[in-house]
């Protein structure tokens, strides 16, 4: 009988590069930058790594296919390395591979690395899709901002909230993330626009404006995971951070083809969260989750995610947002490191970067952003689109708690 992942695997090291327009470095440099911090934090020798998982989305653009780039760049000792990809949820997939590698009992020490070099695509945003398949004949002229912007119209219509009020809540979400990002030396964007500036920004895809859309950035992040026994031999008791839950849910065509979804929320997130809370033994997330990093590719995504994660009731998130519930000083600080919005969104790295911030918070290393005595940290990493996507939820916390 399966017993879930709770408290079976510990994180002993994490690393993350500065995210941003890193014109002077390529994926090969970013990977080493993240790995160096990670291996030093773990306090082990690279030769002890027994298996690795590697996440990157646009292999066509920089690293190329297969997992060879990671093995070659880090000169890993002829170990198994697997490349994984699930759009923007790829980072969590790499973590998942490494965690299950340890939990299965097949390996003692596993590595997860995610990297993306978006600024080599030549695009201001994400590159447009390629041809050569059935989707090419029928896919509408969709971009990432547009695909998520539609959540706003659907949400507004379903709950009878005016678009003005939805925009105000969205603006507060972005404002709050910018305030946090300005406290983070590794963040891509560190400016602090006012609510006014955010509301009056140029339109990108109705109703999302410039400040409703996350940064387009280069970056890499890494994690080393191991068994509880090995973690206990390396770390002090209160520094042992374990995985409490790790769940993924994928769309199955119902949103896109079946008549039962109003483009107002994201089903994969909702399902993954339910599975994760079960796995971690959480009954009331609003009371038990201390802090979160969610997938704020667009401010509207963050808004509906609060409801998908069961923190807010359906249709009620705007109120909590404007009350400051998710601000750094609020009940559940969300995006303490600035989120995708300000830290940036190098696709393969993001899921791991989210875990990095939660990990720093537990170790008391979050500087100006430090949250007092967190108990449970949740990361939410989303890939694809609201109508066809991948929702992953990971929950970590101290082993002793």
């Amino acid at each position: 009988m399966a017993t879930g992942i709770k408290d079976k695997v510990a994180i002993i090291g994490m690393g993350c590069t500065k995210f941003g327009e890193r014109w002077d470095v390529g994926a090969e440099d970013l990977i080493v930058e993240a790995f160096e911090e990670c291996i030093q934090d773990a306090g082990i020798n690279p030769s002890e790594i027994q298996a690795a998982w590697f996440a990157t989305c646009f292999d066509e653009i920089h690293v190329g296919k297969s997992a060879l780039p990671l093995a070659m760049i880090l000169h890993l000792p002829y170990i198994p390395v697997t490349r994984v990809e699930n759009f923007c949820a790829s980072g969590t997939e790499a973590f998942r591979g490494a965690v299950y590698g340890v939990a299965s009992g097949a390996y003692d020490v596993c590595l997860a690395v995610g990297v993306e070099k978006l600024k080599d695509t030549g695009y201001g945003g994400l590159p447009a899709g390629g041809g050569g398949n059935l989707s090419w004949f029928v896919r509408p002229n969709i971009t990432a901002p547009g695909g998520f912007a539609m959540l706003a119209s659907g949400y507004s219509a379903k709950y009878g909230i005016s678009m003005d009020d939805v925009k105000k809540a969205m603006a507060h979400i972005s404002w709050k993330s910018h305030q946090n990002g300005s406290k983070n030396p590794k963040a891509h964007l560190r400016n602090t626009p006012s609510i006014e500036e955010i509301l009056n920004a140029p339109m990108v895809a109705y109703p999302l404006g410039l400040y409703d859309c996350c940064g387009v950035s280069d970056g890499a992040a890494a994690a080393i995971v191991t068994t509880l026994d090995i973690a206990k031999s390396l770390k002090k008791e209160h520094e042992i951070i374990t995985v409490k839950a790790l769940q993924v849910a994928l769309s199955n065509g119902e949103e896109a083809s079946f008549t039962n979804w109003d483009y107002d929320h994201i089903i994969p997130t909702t399902r993954a969260a339910q599975l994760a809370y079960n796995e971690a033994g959480i009954k009331n997330p609003r009371e038990e989750i201390s802090m979160m990093e969610v997938h704020d590719c667009f401010s509207i995504t963050e808004l509906v995610t609060y409801e998908d994660l069961g923190i807010c009731e359906r249709g009620k998130a705007t109120k909590d947002v404007l009350d400051g519930f998710f601000d750094l000083g609020g009940k559940i600080p969300c995006q303490p490191d600035g989120g995708l919005k300000c830290f940036g969104h190098p696709i393969g790295a993001s899921g791991l970067r989210m875990l990095y911030e939660m990990y720093l918070q537990f170790l008391g290393k979050a500087g100006e952003r430090q949250i007092k005595e967190p108990k449970l940290g949740l990361t939410h990493n989303l890939g694809g689109f609201p109508f066809m996507g991948i929702g992953s939820v990971a929950i970590i916390g101290r082993y002793k708690d």
């Binding site: 899709g129 041809g131 090419w136 002229n141 109003d262």
Partner: protein, 483 residues
């Protein structure tokens, strides 16, 4: 007796006032003022002769059984393919049965009436029961020249059959001459035109009366027998002069539609014919003539059945649906006459896998999905496993057509990042009446026209043109329906 069973038409929504064109070009081509009356209709950036042919055919098929169609004849001088049957693409879009004869009639502006004549003769002979005849043209012109003023874009369609005809076919007379008023080499974009005065004197004024008089003589009729004499002529004065020459009254001569849309190429005689049918009475005799390296003259007698024809857009409905384009630059950009920088996003995509298109031709061109025979759920795309979470039956779906179903907007956006010839790119999710949904591009619509719950209908459009490989990709888009 064979005759017309129904009709349909499609004139694109875009109109540009000829004065707008003239004002942009007066400094260069002051003589174009001669033809600067009214407005012309022109394709949206996502329309061409083939897409318009599908729309006109759909209008024509209203109230009829598609499975009764034995043949589809497509007439045009501006079809995208020289070799890939264009009529076959139309037949697939209409989801006609496989056992049909499809043919492209091209090479002349009289191709429309020639196709019609062939259809009537086949039905008269009894070798075909019902033939759908559609003519369509989108003629390209350079800027600041007379033909920019003369031509419009449009498609017209008639169903030829024997049962319940609304206009009985009585006879025809044709002449063929290599009279080259203009020509266009295969693969060339625009026409080469000789002097207008010569075209008028040696062409219109001689050949059209010759065809009409030939018909009158053949059937021992006189001009006075006809309620309407229908013939094209881009010169309004000459159009009137032909009528005078024949001894027809002003009321008998069917208007050449210059002021409301312009001359629609091979579809024009049929478009004018439909316009005449829209106000015809039982017993009226109509004479329909074309002009293009000779002329076909066909005559019909309207029957009582015209009163029972179910509603359709036709010409009057198409003409009523319009939006005024006040920017000549926009007109030029839509017609690829002005080079605009589309940016790096335009590089996306590439080859269109033909083997994938073949397997999925009904899904892509016909907008055919599936309906589960176990739980009754319509779904697009059709799949091996039912999408209904309460069902999930394997191999249970039958073909289900979505093209003519009305739908409502579930959500939408106007995207300024996605490339578009008319930003913002508008797309969204729609839900069909009866069930089923899909993500679609919207067209012929402004962002302000949309809201959640807005009614839309599906329209067949040119989704992209791969210039490098010479591939024209077609698919369906949603158009808001005015309530």
């Amino acid at each position: 007796m064979a005759g017309i069973v129904s009709y349909g038409a499609y004139i694109p929504k875009n109109r540009i006032s000829r004065m707008t064109i003239f004002q942009a070009n007066a400094w260069f081509a002051p003589a174009t003022i001669q033809f600067a009356q009214g407005e012309k209709a022109f394709c949206n950036w996502d329309e061409d002769a083939l897409s318009m042919a599908v729309e006109a055919s759909r209008d024509c098929l209203k109230g009829l059984e598609k499975k009764e169609v034995d043949a589809l004849y497509l007439a045009s001088t501006t079809l995208p393919y020289a070799d890939r049957q264009n009529a076959g693409i139309v037949a697939t879009a209409l989801n006609l049965k496989e056992e049909v004869v499809t043919a492209d009639f091209t090479g002349s502006l009289k191709a429309g009436t020639t196709a019609l004549l062939s259809a009537l003769e086949a039905v008269e002979l009894g070798s075909k029961k019902n033939v759908l005849v559609t003519a369509s043209d989108r003629r390209e012109t350079k800027c600041a020249y007379l033909y920019e003023m003369w031509f419009g874009d449009g498609a017209a369609s008639v169903m030829v059959g024997k049962d319940n005809v609304i206009a009985e076919f009585k006879g025809s007379y044709s002449v063929s001459y290599d009279f080259v008023d203009h020509y266009r080499e295969a693969g060339k974009k625009t026409d080469y035109i000789w002097e207008e005065r010569w075209i008028r004197d040696e062409g219109y004024m001689k050949i059209i009366p010759e065809a009409i008089n030939g018909l009158l003589k053949k059937y021992t009729l006189s001009v006075g027998d006809f309620s309407k004499i229908i013939y094209p002529c881009i010169f309004k004065r000459t159009h009137r002069a032909i009528g005078k020459l024949l001894g027809a009254s002003k009321e008998q001569v069917q208007d050449n539609m210059h002021e409301v849309c312009g001359e629609l190429g091979a579809s024009h005689p049929i478009a004018m014919f439909i316009s005449a049918l829209e106000s015809a009475n039982p017993g009226d005799k109509l004479l329909v003539v074309s002009f293009g390296q000779g002329a076909d003259a066909l005559y019909f007698e309207v029957t009582e059945n015209i009163k029972n024809l179910s509603p359709r857009n036709g010409i009057s409905g198409s003409l009523a649906n319009k939006r005024d384009i006040t920017s000549y630059e926009k007109y030029c950009i839509f017609r690829d006459l002005l080079a605009v920088e589309m940016g790096i996003r335009a590089e996306a995509g590439g080859q269109s896998p033909l083997s994938i298109l073949w397997r999925n031709r009904k899904l892509v061109l016909g907008l055919v999905g599936g309906k589960c025979t176990k739980c009754g759920t319509p779904q697009y795309p059709k799949s091996h496993i039912c999408v209904n979470p309460e069902c999930r039956a394997f191999h249970s779906q039958e073909d289900y057509e979505f093209a003519d179903k009305e739908a409502k907007v579930v959500s939408y956006t106007g995207d300024l990042l996605a490339i578009s010839l008319e930003p913002p790119a508008i797309y969204g999710m729609i839900q069909f009446e009866g069930g089923g949904r899909m993500l679609v591009d919207f067209t012929d619509c402004e962002l302000g026209e949309l809201q959640v719950g807005q009614k839309v209908r599906m329209s067949f459009r040119k989704r992209w043109h791969d210039k490098e490989r010479g591939f024209h990709g077609y698919y369906w888009k949603a158009v808001p329906v005015k309530e």
